[in-house]
């Protein structure tokens, strides 16, 4: 009895150390239902004071510099690879094709004006150091959640791992470094997989730019909403609360009744109650791109409803809404780097600031 | 009653303790308005210090915006009017006035007066034209008696 319980306790303790979403234990004795993919590894390492000597610090910097050089070499190799250049001969874009997406950072909001003088609010998304880390073909790609049992046979999509924002390799764990090291890249702060069709495969190390999308296209944006903590029903679900006076005591912001009696004399699943609000993944679909800056890789999107605070990470991909989908072929599989692109692209209805003032004329 | 009389006599000394922070200044039920045309009933009501009261705002929100039709109680009668200037905060480039102004009209949209003696916003021109299309009444007659647009 005693050794058995000790074993359980030890097992639970060990599990409790990992604070990774993938390694969450569901109860003390249950096995995880979903096996996370191999790139789901703990990223943050325990910070220690290393007290390295000056020479050794220099050596580490030198190694990182060498790795950066190797990475640029890989980039060049990817850009000259036949997949990217001979694309027009082999594969063409169809409306059913799934392209790779981008990882962007939300950097703020500011207004733009339409050519008819209307003011629109926009959100700025910056695309930082996006690189293709790896392409996993459909045969090897095993998604975590399978809705259909025979999905493996039907599977027609692979996936592409995309990383954003280079970081110092010494601040992340060895496991996380290994994902990037195996393809000769430096570790990135953010890593995300995009499900793609096999035609839009990309070689390792391909850089992705904001011009991957075009002005006027619609995209879906997935990111985490603002964390608002534990909130009551009035803020969380928009309940009305109760009156401020007329004999109401201590129940001004409470939900009131949560169900009827009889056979339903219990709390029904899904009842709207107080609880944690925000910090959830949400997707905003069909957001129009109004302007693209090619120098800083910034995308202006219509509206301010993109989830998350300023500085939040967003995943951008082609919209799945049937009416807002791409009608014509976008840059496929992606837009390679070009020297002679214009500095900025504007949507047709947007008034660029360096154009003369808007005036109206009498209709005749 | 007694208090109101006293207030009128010496409003400074006897201000009641109501809050005086900035409010929304919306035009809704029982708001007092200012008649700005020279219709006889309107002139008399304003001169007597009995400005009209809103008893219905004809839109979905029940809060009046520029160009909305309202029914007012004025001198014991029910009259319709059009809001031509609002106190509440407006959009950029739309003027905000120091009082809630109204022009009295009849059921066909014809103004009761012959002249509006305060400026009215230019955006009213577009709004009234749009409304005229949808309704039977012709509200653009109101624009013809305006003296000044801002």
């Amino acid at each position: 009895m005693f050794p058995n319980s000790l074993k359980l306790l030890w097992g639970a303790l060990q599990k409790s150390r990992f604070d990774n979403a993938a390694c969450n234990i569901r109860g003390a004795s249950r096995q995880p239902r979903f096996r996370p993919p191999y790139w789901y590894v703990p990223k943050e390492r325990v910070w220690t004071d290393d007290y390295l000597t000056k020479e050794n610090k220099q050596f580490l910097e030198e190694v990182i510099k060498d790795k950066l050089e190797a990475q640029t070499a890989l980039e060049k190799k990817a850009l000259t690879s036949p997949i990217l250049n001979d694309v027009k001969k082999n594969v063409t874009w169809t409306p059913q094709t799934k392209r790779v997406g981008l990882i962007a950072r939300k950097i703020g909001n500011y207004p733009l004006w339409c050519k008819d003088g209307k003011k629109v609010s926009t959100t700025l998304l910056q695309v930082v150091d996006n690189h293709v880390i790896k392409y996993i073909p459909p045969e090897e790609y095993k998604p975590m959640i399978k809705s259909n049992v025979k999905w493996v046979e039907k599977q027609k999509y692979g996936c592409i791992l995309v990383g954003a924002e280079n970081i110092d390799p010494s601040v992340v764990t060895k496991d996380y470094c290994g994902i990037f090291d195996s393809v000769g890249m430096l570790p990135k702060r953010h890593l995300c997989r995009f499900v793609v069709s096999p035609e839009s495969a990309l070689p390792n190390g391909t850089p992705l730019y904001a011009t991957h999308f075009r002005v006027g296209d619609c995209i879906d944006i997935r990111s985490k909403t603002m964390d608002r903590g534990f909130q009551g029903v009035m803020k969380r679900w928009g309940f009305k609360g109760m009156p401020a006076s007329h004999g109401v005591t201590k129940t001004h912001r409470r939900p009131g009744n949560i169900g009827s009696g009889g056979e339903k004399a219990r709390v029904w699943p899904g009842t709207k109650m107080p609880g944690h609000m925000g910090n959830r993944w949400r997707t905003l679909r069909g957001v129009k791109i109004l302007r693209i800056d090619t120098k800083y890789n910034v995308i202006w999107t219509l509206g301010v409803a993109i989830p998350g605070e300023t500085g939040a990470m967003c995943y951008l991909f082609d919209t799945v809404l049937p009416l807002k989908r791409n009608k014509t072929a976008p840059p496929f599989p992606t837009q390679p780097f070009m020297n002679d692109v214009p500095k900025e692209y504007f949507e047709d209805t947007i008034h660029p600031f360096d154009e003369p003032t808007i005036s109206y004329y009498e209709e005749i | 009653m007694f208090r109101t009389i006293l207030n009128k006599l010496n409003p400074v000394e006897l201000t009641c303790g109501f809050h005086t922070t900035a409010c929304l200044n919306e035009v809704r039920l029982l708001t007092r308005l200012r008649v700005v045309d020279n219709s006889e009933i309107g002139m008399r009501a304003m001169a007597e210090g009995k400005p009209p009261k809103v008893i219905c705002v004809y839109n979905k929100q029940r809060v009046g915006f520029i160009g909305d039709r309202v029914m007012v109680a004025i001198k014991g009668q029910k009259k319709k009017g059009i809001l031509v200037g609002l106190k509440q905060t407006q959009k950029v480039k739309v003027p905000k006035f120091d009082s809630n102004n109204i022009v009295l009209i009849d059921d066909n949209g014809t103004p009761l007066g012959t002249r509006i003696h305060v400026p009215i916003p230019t955006i009213l021109r577009t709004i009234l034209k749009e409304k005229t299309h949808s309704k039977g009444a012709d509200y653009t007659k109101l624009l013809a008696i305006a003296t000044k647009f801002v």
Binding site: - | V92, K93, K96, V118, I123, L124, R125, V150
Partner: protein, 305 residues
């Protein structure tokens, strides 16, 4: 004791130093004498230590406050601010957005699809400037036909054809909302007012006019806001108002150093911003000066309001 070291000859110093321990017990008199001599030198030093010279670039902050970002760190992002400033300068290259302050009198001409001539001109006193970046706004107030009218404009709206400063001056307060409760003559300006051009190099004059308020009811409790530009507020206040005003005072806020810090952009960041935009702003200013020289000169009149 340490003073002994400051004697010029080294040998003497050493000798003193060696005998220091014995001297210490005698008395504190010689020490004090030396301290006094030291104070003289220190005083000379402190008087030399003047406050550092203020960077002339920083003076731009009064005329172009919208170039400074919102100090709230939640919304700060250097790239966004940079792009925003670039857009603002692009717009400023298209039309001349002059230097004006709260209290200046402006005439704004906009393209208006609703009006008959498709343009609309409004004249009024600027009672508020707010917002930063491309969101910068200003509000004009005027009394037309005995009816107070206020219009809010976006500073960088591309439908604005012309912003003309008819009289550039400052008032005693940062916000002039009390003009709404003041007598109408303080905010009445004729639409055909001629621009008054100040001679070059004169500092922006401050108009010390104090307005007279109408009796209560007011839109706000002006007595609690410590406003300089109101002359007759005391006569309308009740005893209760005065008591409440005393109760609501927050004298410690003046000393809250971090509250000030969180509301401002530090000098180091401002220097970066102004050095980025200064050359372009200077060019625009030069162009404006050239155009103003062509106009006729008229002396500023002293006028009510």
């Amino acid at each position: 004791m340490a003073v002994t070291l400051r004697k010029s000859t080294e040998l003497f110093t050493v000798a003193k130093w060696l005998t220091r321990r014995d001297c210490r017990t005698l008395s504190s008199l010689p020490e004090k004498a030396k301290l006094a001599s030291l104070e003289v030198t220190e005083k000379a030093e402190t008087s030399r230590r003047r406050p550092k010279k203020v960077n002339p670039l920083l003076e731009n902050r009064h005329a172009y406050p919208e170039f400074l970002p919102d100090p709230n760190p939640k919304w700060r992002n250097s790239l966004r601010e940079k792009l925003e400033r670039a857009d603002m300068l692009k717009r400023r290259n298209q039309i001349d957005i002059p230097e004006f302050y709260v209290g200046s009198i402006l005439a704004v001409t906009i393209a208006d699809p609703h009006s008959q001539g498709k343009t609309n001109r409004f004249v009024g006193i600027c009672i508020e400037r707010k917002g930063c970046g491309l969101r910068a706004e200003f509000t004009l107030r005027n009394v037309v036909d005995h009816q107070g009218v206020e219009v809010r404009y976006d500073l960088y709206d591309p439908t604005i054809h012309k912003i003309q400063v008819l009289r550039v001056e400052k008032r005693l307060d940062d916000k002039l909302f009390y003009l709404r409760d003041a007598l109408p003559e303080y905010s009445t300006f004729s639409f055909d007012m001629d621009p008054e051009i100040l001679p070059e190099g004169t500092p922006v004059p401050i108009n010390p006019v104090k307005v007279e308020l109408k009796p209560k009811p007011w839109l706000e409790r002006w007595e609690r806001q410590e406003l300089q530009g109101i002359s007759n507020i005391e006569q309308y206040l009740t005893k209760k108002d005065k008591v409440r005003r005393e109760l609501r005072k927050t004298p410690w806020e003046k000393y809250d150093l971090m509250k000030q810090y969180r509301k401002t952009i530090p000098i180091e960041e401002q220097t970066d911003i102004w050095s980025e935009v200064n050359s372009q702003l200077q060019q625009l200013q030069l162009a404006r000066k050239k155009s103003t020289r062509k106009r006729t000169f008229s002396a500023p009149k002293t006028q009510l309001g």
